[in-house]
């Protein structure tokens, strides 16, 4: 029985399974213990080993390598070249891809001599991008710039930035950026990045038809508990799922909780929390609201993704969804699903006057391979025209208050109005703008426990303790 059943990983295990299959004889040894009959079929020749090794390993290992750093480099022709601007981003498909292409096109109209070495890194929501940039920085090969959510996220690449206040953050920019985004663009007091777009987190989207059927008026909701009552009504009156939400990943729930916290504790309570002085009672109350809402989630919320939850709203199978305004991007792309008629948005009840936001920005890296070109590019990103070009495709709003938004769709214009009229623009915890990366990790861990047991008190303790 010369079988050495040792598997090191999936890839080599496959080869093993085929080899072993070939090895096993058809017949048992006879009473004399003579394996004569097994000779024919148990002989595993070298050729078979090599061919099955090759075939099985190709199939097996090919599956394993799918998750590698997928720097596809569709436009990439490498780094180097003093005038080549190396730009890394995670918008490898969809609206983000169209947006960055429009931005670069606009920039190159003004500065035709700058070449772009743009590299999309596969992985939704920048999941792989940070790691790729970290590796590049470790290898002392920084990119010119990359897509980064600013705020406390900047701490991940501590020491890798250069101040651009003089060249890029001119008075023009300083006057036209609201206070919140401006603060997020700084690291340790110096301006290091230029925000390009603003996504709103505290939205509540709804399907008009379902709400009409249930008799719920979204404008009348004024607090998180009103939302819960509305869900109850919807559940009673219609067949639709009241609140479309996914719980297979923690991020949607963290967003929901921080929105409710902002509504219930106000901007002061929210800022106290992100500065490490949160009030346990407020945190727990917000969590309890989430627990109440969770009764109205779809039954399979733990198996679906956010896209599926969003599709439920579009199909009329769900009434409400709480998401950032990228969800609206999907609505805009859908045929026959129109803003105002079929779907609408209200500020999440309780948070009126606040614009809870996430931003994409481009930082300026130290030891920049193309400093001049990068400065020009960042300046262009700070102009109203560049921002409108980008946001028209992206579905978010430009940060500059003087941007001409007539080119954007109605929903974006309404959001822009809200933004400029907001009293405060708090940063989002979930996207890393509000708290340092280590604290954010603790918060995510606390929420993965929360999704398992929905224990508000224990999670509140964990969240308060996250900053310790």
């Amino acid at each position: 029985m010369l079988i050495y059943p040792m598997i090191i990983n999936v890839g080599h295990g496959h080869l093993l399974s085929y080899c072993i299959t070939a090895k096993i004889g058809r017949f048992r040894a006879d009473t004399h213990g003579d394996n004569l009959m097994t000779d024919k079929s148990t002989k595993l020749s070298r050729r078979t080993v090599l061919t099955t090794t090759g075939a099985a390993a190709v199939t097996g290992l090919a599956g394993c390598t799918g998750g590698d750093e997928g720097s596809g480099g569709s436009n990439g022709n490498g780094s180097g070249g003093a005038n080549e601007l190396e730009l890394l981003h995670a918008w490898s498909s969809g609206d983000g891809n169209a947006a960055i292409a429009a931005l670069i096109e606009g920039f190159q109209e003004e500065h035709p001599d700058v070449e772009f070495a743009e590299e999309p890194v596969d992985g939704a929501a920048r999941s792989n991008l940070d790691q790729v940039v970290l590796n590049k920085l470790q290898a002392n090969d920084p990119p010119s710039t990359f897509q980064l959510w600013p705020g406390k996220n900047l701490a991940k690449f501590d020491g890798a930035y250069e101040d651009i206040e003089d060249d890029v953050w001119t008075d023009d920019l300083k006057e036209n950026y609201l206070a919140g985004p401006q603060e997020q663009a700084q690291y340790n007091g110096s301006y290091v990045s230029v925000p390009l777009n603003i996504h709103r987190i505290n939205n509540l989207f709804y399907n008009t038809a379902v709400l009409e059927e249930a008799g719920v008026d979204p404008a009348s909701l004024s607090s998180a508990s009103d939302v819960v009552s509305a869900c109850e009504t919807i559940a009673a009156e219609t067949d639709a799922v009241p609140f479309a939400h996914q719980t297979s990943g923690t991020w949607s729930t963290v967003q929901l909780w921080e929105t409710i916290l902002l509504g219930q504790a106000g901007i002061d309570g929210y800022e106290a929390f992100i500065n490490g002085n949160g009030d346990a009672g407020q945190v727990q109350t917000a969590l309890e609201s989430v627990v109440e809402l969770s009764e109205y989630y779809p039954g399979d919320s733990s198996s679906i993704t956010f896209t599926e939850a969003n599709t439920m709203v579009m199909d009329g199978d769900a009434a409400f969804i709480h998401q950032g305004d990228w969800a609206a991007g999907a609505y805009s792309n859908a045929d026959g699903f129109n803003y105002g008629e079929d779907w609408g948005q209200v500020t999440y009840p309780g948070t009126s006057g606040s614009y809870l936001l996430n931003m994409d920005s481009f930082p300026f890296m130290a030891n920049n391979p193309s400093p001049e070109a990068t400065r020009q590019f960042l300046s262009y990103c700070g102009t109203a025209e560049g921002q409108v070009r980008f946001n028209a495709e992206k579905g978010s709003i430009p940060p500059r208050s003087d941007a001409d938004v007539s080119a954007l769709n109605q929903f974006q214009q309404d959001q822009f109005e809200d933004f400029n009229a907001a009293d405060n623009q708090p940063p989002s915890v979930e996207h890393g703008l509000a708290v340092s990366p280590a604290v954010k990790t603790n918060i995510s861990d606390a929420f993965s426990s929360f999704l398992e047991n929905y224990d508000a008190a224990a999670t509140a303790d964990a969240l308060i303790g996250a900053s310790n």
């Binding site: 598997i7 096993i24 048992r28 394993c64 790691q131 920085l137 398992e452």
Partner: protein, 330 residues
């Protein structure tokens, strides 16, 4: 009396070739030894694995003694066991402002997963092997079907089983509903999460256990079966008393492989839960290690957890290799 050193030296350097006419030639140089002459064959691979496997492990141990975190280079001048202390007892290490939790939860989950997965996988494999051994028609077809899950990668398996565990449209809940237990939340249920992961992994690997047992069964001479029959044993008794004890070698080797494999089931959890954090009830050492190193940037702490993982694997494998060596089956 010769100087022992001289004797040793001569024995080491002498190498007498056997001549074709039966005599011996004069002593050759060390270069004629078989070990040296075959060196071009085994030495390059050995150097390769020496660097990538053993060198990497040694480097990993050294890294776990540093304070390496975030950007920059590791500082090899200040080595201490702080990371291990934090791993076992929790606390605030010098490279972090926040407290870091110890690894007991992950370690416990790892052990539970290891034991449950291996035992059930072996049991299922044994049952399947006994069934397949009954001289059935289409044996090759059945064997291929049972081995098919092994050809999938973990990412794929995780996605497939995510569909299966779906509360509303998943087959598992359909089956449970038909049986009367009713639809049960599985994927985010802290009580069932680890069991669900183990079940999916068992699905993938019981074909392998079956193959090992089948080979073992085939190596048992027919006379044993016949003798048991003649003595009047029922089928169950025959297998339980006579055959299964003879499968000990197969069991041990399969057990070692499955156990060590389950220590590494990171890809599956990453794919199923879409990230580095599968939730505390399914967090195993492998996911904890990758999370600490790649998501949180705590490289040294991640290395420490990896060393602990490695020692666990070593503890399982060393007795096995030693016993194989002693038995000459290596």
């Amino acid at each position: 009396m010769r100087n022992p050193l001289t004797v040793l030296k001569r024995r080491l350097s002498e190498h007498r070739e056997v001549r074709t006419d039966g005599g011996t030639t004069s002593a050759g140089s060390i270069l004629d030894r078989d070990s040296v002459r075959s060196a071009p064959f085994w030495l390059p691979p050995f150097l390769l694995i020496g660097l990538f496997i053993y060198g990497a492990i040694a480097w990993n141990i050294v890294l776990s003694l540093t304070d390496f975190q975030g950007l920059g280079s590791p500082d090899y001048s200040a080595l201490d066991f702080e990371n291990y202390v934090v791993a076992f007892f929790g606390g605030t290490p010098s490279w972090s402002e926040l407290t870091v939790s110890p690894i007991w939860n992950s370690a416990w989950n790892t052990v539970v997963l290891m034991v449950s997965f291996s035992v059930v996988c072996l049991a299922l494999g044994l049952v399947l092997a006994i069934l397949v051994d009954q001289e059935i028609r289409f044996e090759n077809t059945f064997r291929t079907i049972y081995l098919l899950p092994m050809s999938l990668s973990f990412v794929v398996t995780a996605k497939f089983w995510l569909y299966m565990y779906n509360v509303e449209t998943g087959l598992v809940n359909l089956f449970l509903g038909a049986v009367g237990v009713g639809p049960v939340e599985i994927v985010q249920n802290p009580d069932l999460k680890l069991a669900a992961v183990a079940f999916a992994l068992i699905w993938q690997f019981s074909g392998y256990a079956m193959i090992v047992y089948l080979a073992g069964l085939r190596a048992i001479p027919t006379s044993h079966f016949e003798a048991a029959r003649v003595d009047g044993a029922s089928t169950l008794r025959m297998y339980w008393r006579v055959i299964i004890p003879q499968l000990r070698t197969a069991t041990v080797s399969a057990l070692v492989v499955l156990t060590v494999f389950s220590l590494k089931a990171f890809d599956f959890l990453f794919s199923m839960y879409g990230g580095y954090q599968p939730g505390p009830s399914a967090d195993i050492l492998a996911t904890r290690m990758v999370r600490e190193a790649y998501s949180n940037g705590n490289w040294a702490y991640g290395s420490a957890i990896a060393v602990i993982l490695f020692i666990m694997a070593l503890a399982i494998v060393t007795p096995y290799i030693y016993s194989q060596y002693k038995r000459g089956e290596l």
